[in-house]
């Protein structure tokens, strides 16, 4: 099946559609209705989470989706407690710094491996590639020991350091730098720019879509990361949103509507980001999924 290997999906194609704009026959209408019903089922858990977070305690166990008397009482209660505020802030800080670091280093390494010819290039390339095979779960014990001996436990640095660079991001960027013509770089060199300037002012602006896709992935990944933050944090003030929410849910006296409120607080930001940048994120998913 040699043909199968030559046909590769492309990112642009997924956003275009085939076929007639409106369903023409009965078959198409039924297909649309079934897919619509399935899609509604898919968002039900999210809808119930948000709806329950807006309900008064006495209404929480009713199965109706629309709250009879919507209230923001649960949000006031959860935020006044103060911890979610702190966890939210921690998650924002950690995800932002990690994203910035990945954008900087993954693109620098990707660029170097793509556009420079130097002794040791293949070794570095294969070494970084091989780290894709090492699961995080294998590294958490050594990372914990490392953090313990350097005093990184229970700190922002401790939560962040394992993810500051990723092999996935490096290869994504390397793939995209392939599309930057060598002539551009050569011309910039003749103009007297040094290599750092060429990377930053010539090559980087040409791969902005890839940088944006990488930013979304790294941010989302760190926003939802659970295992390592759970291990490395001890004090309530250092928890990230997922770790905090997990502990919050475990407190026996916490009511379900408050847990749903906490869950909503941790989910709504990423949902809003998605609804704003929808086309863009879907293109990014395809690009990253197929090139990374």
């Amino acid at each position: 099946m040699a043909m199968a290997d030559t046909i590769r999906p492309t990112a642009a194609a997924v956003l275009e559609t085939r076929g007639p704009a409106r369903p023409r026959n009965m078959g198409q209408i039924i297909r649309w209705l079934i897919l619509f019903a399935g899609g509604v089922l898919m968002v039900m858990p999210i809808a119930y989470m948000i709806s329950t977070s807006l309900k008064w305690p006495h209404e929480v166990y009713d199965v109706n989706l629309i709250p009879k008397e919507p209230t923001l009482e649960n949000y006031t209660y959860v935020l006044e407690d103060g911890r979610f505020y702190l966890w939210f802030l921690n998650s924002i800080i950690i995800a932002t710094i990690t994203t910035a670091s990945n954008l900087l280093f993954d693109s620098l390494v990707g660029y170097t491996l793509c556009k420079f010819r130097f002794p040791g290039r293949m070794i570095v390339f294969i070494a970084i590639l091989s780290t894709l095979m090492i699961p995080t779960e294998m590294l958490v014990i050594p990372w914990y020991l490392m953090s313990q001996s350097f005093g990184w436990l229970d700190s922002y640095w401790g939560i962040m350091f394992p993810g500051l660079m990723t092999a996935f991001g490096t290869f994504l960027m390397k793939q995209f730098f392939e599309s930057v013509p060598d002539d551009f770089i050569e011309a910039a060199r003749i103009d007297g720019l040094n290599e750092l300037q060429i990377w930053w002012t010539v090559a980087m602006p040409l791969v902005k879509p890839a940088l944006a896709a990488l930013a979304i992935f790294v941010f989302l990944g760190n926003w939802t990361a659970f295992l390592w933050p759970l291990i490395v944090t001890n004090s309530v003030e250092m928890y990230t949103i997922p770790v905090g929410l997990s502990g919050f849910g475990d407190e026996a006296d916490v009511a379900w509507e408050l847990i749903m409120t906490g869950a909503a607080i941790s989910t709504i930001p990423t949902l809003v980001i998605f609804l704003i940048f929808q086309r863009f994120i879907i293109r990014g998913v395809v690009m990253a999924g197929l090139k990374g």
Binding site: R8, P23, L35, G38, P119, I141, E195, P242, G289
Partner: protein, 297 residues
């Protein structure tokens, strides 16, 4: 600086390249390779974090082999994989196949299926955990009760708990797979379909003779990615069964949760490290199978 100026262009390039790579190479060495080595070394030692590290040879691996909990966990881990991967593959293909043929409000439908992918596993685990509670709390049992069907024990039953924990994991990953499948479907040139139409071939033949064979790279990619995801399942299990993580009676405990428990509740670092080596080996085999399936023949 004069030293730098005397270099040839090629030599300057080498200097720049290594200057750019210095910090990353250090990072990958210290944060990825060195810990990998440490994990393997610790797996041959006995260590409870406080006392001395003593060499244990293959003792941890022997203990693992004889540990009934490990085999239970091993079966669970593969149950997540063997149920989760085919179910999510089939669902996402069927959705993508039909969605691909629709244009009316296409973007809206796609959004509905993709939205769960943007949620946090911990948050949604708690939502599903609430759904699964008994009457009068949980949504599912309340719905069943309202139509007069007997209650179902979800998370407290040793047989139902694992699929119940798996469901939100499949749900959250579905949208991603649908998007990847749609990209794969779009990459198939329409000329193949037009040729089939001229020949008067039925839809089933088109599906099995054109669509599926041409989707092979996409299918392999999705199978491997979701397999790796299900083999590493942790967030959902930890949060849906928190009072007794991995319960009831270890019925839902996956390998990563066992590693976490052994290392950070039991502080048996050597034993936990041996488990991580086993996980690494399993994931390596899955990746090698992918390379084998995608080799150009």
């Amino acid at each position: 600086m004069t030293l730098y100026r005397n270099l040839t262009i090629r030599q300057k390039q080498i200097v720049w390249a290594w200057a750019f790579l210095a910090i990353p190479v250090l990072f990958y060495g210290v944060i990825r390779f060195y810990p990998t080595g440490t994990a393997v070394v610790i797996s041959f030692q006995n260590w409870n974090l406080l006392g001395d590290r003593t060499w244990a040879g293959l003792e941890n691996y022997r203990e693992l082999w004889n540990d009934p909990v490990f085999w239970k966990v091993f079966r669970n881990t593969f149950a997540y994989l063997l149920i989760g991967t085919p179910v999510s593959l089939l669902l996402s293909f069927v959705i993508a196949y039909h969605l691909d043929k629709l244009r009316f409000m296409h973007g809206f439908l796609r959004m509905l299926y993709f939205l769960p992918f943007m949620t946090s596993a911990v948050a949604m685990a708690w939502v599903w955990r609430w759904f699964y509670q008994g009457v009068p709390i949980g949504l599912f049992n309340n719905l069943l009760a309202s139509v007069g069907i007997a209650q179902i024990e979800f998370l407290n039953s040793t047989t139902n708990a694992l699929p119940a924990v798996l469901a939100p994991a499949v749900w959250a990953g579905l949208g991603f797979q649908v998007i990847i499948f749609m990209a794969g479907l779009r990459a198939i040139p329409t000329s193949y379909y037009e040729a089939a139409k001229i020949d008067g071939v039925g839809w089933w033949t088109v599906l099995t003779q054109i669509t599926l064979p041409l989707l092979k790279p996409t299918i392999v990619f999705i199978v491997v990615l979701s397999s790796i995801g299900f083999l590493r399942i942790f967030d959902h299990v930890f949060n849906m069964t928190t009072n007794n993580p991995g319960g009831p009676l270890n019925a839902t405990k996956p390998l990563v949760l066992m590693i976490y428990d052994t290392a950070f509740n039991g502080f048996n670092m050597g034993y936990a490290a041996a488990q991580t080596v086993v996980l690494f080996t399993i994931l390596l085999i899955v990746s090698l199978i992918q390379l084998y399936l995608l080799r150009s023949d």
